[in-house]
Symmetry: C2
Subunit: 143 residues, 2 copies
Amino acid sequence: MKPSPLITALQASGHRITRQRRVVLEVLEESQEHLDAESLYQKARQRAPRISLATVYRTVAVLKQMGLIAEYSLGEEHGHFETVPETPHYHFTCIGCGQVVEFDTPQVAVAIQELAEREGLEICTVQFSLTGYCACCRAGRGR
Amino acid sequence: MKPSPLITALQASGHRITRQRRVVLEVLEESQEHLDAESLYQKARQRAPRISLATVYRTVAVLKQMGLIAEYSLGEEHGHFETVPETPHYHFTCIGCGQVVEFDTPQVAVAIQELAEREGLEICTVQFSLTGYCACCRAGRGR
DNA sequence: TTGTAAATGAGAATCACTTGCAATTATAGC
DNA sequence: GCTATAATTGCAAGTGATTCTCATTTACAA
């Protein structure tokens, strides 16, 4: 009986609240990681065993389109999802250990803003992510 | 008999200079567009009719790994390639007309640099691209 | 010229995701 | 609470981009 903001928003927009959507949303809200479709599927199955991967994809598509979650490409070939944070941030993924570091660079937001104004652009999506080696892995690599 | 810098670099690193590699390189060097694998393949076929798509992929993989070309995801589901420019730049792709606008934002480079130093990171790849509507398409859309 | 390891072509395979369709189910109205 | 019905689901087949397998070809050092 927890009135999750995501559930409420989904409902308000005229979507039906099904068991599988509720579960996917719960997993997304509880997880602090950046889950990809497959791990989202695995976690969701624990609560709704008959859920299908297609439903996971369909659910994140709806949530993404509503702006409730964001999709990132973290250097891998598939996408990762996260509930939208209050403050926008970007991601660094360590090639060595897989760790994801979130960072906020106001300068980037400013740069985008200036570019949009200068060129008369309307920006819809921003994709900004870095990969490399974190401090730990650099130390371990001997350089 | 033109000693293309890319050919020279390829050779210097111990790779064999085959007809198909030469052709792919030529197409990449001559084109000012951001070609995807398929159009690279189509253009290459005009000079080496029996070249296969697999070879195109293998060739760009080698070039990319050597840092001679860069791959970008321009809002589409597949990659686009470009010979590495002297000055780094990023891309804006118009959802309306498909036009790609290159832009340079020193602020972004600075932000990345500062982040790397602050967190002790070694940055290997930077993915930064925008999508939205260009001035023309915005006008045409009536907003 | 020749030996041999690298590279290629053709097509099968993979990976991430999407779609078609029949069966289920949430929910508005009675 | 029932019922009708349109949204949603599960499954399996389909896609699109890219990679891999393997037999054949080829670059190039000797």
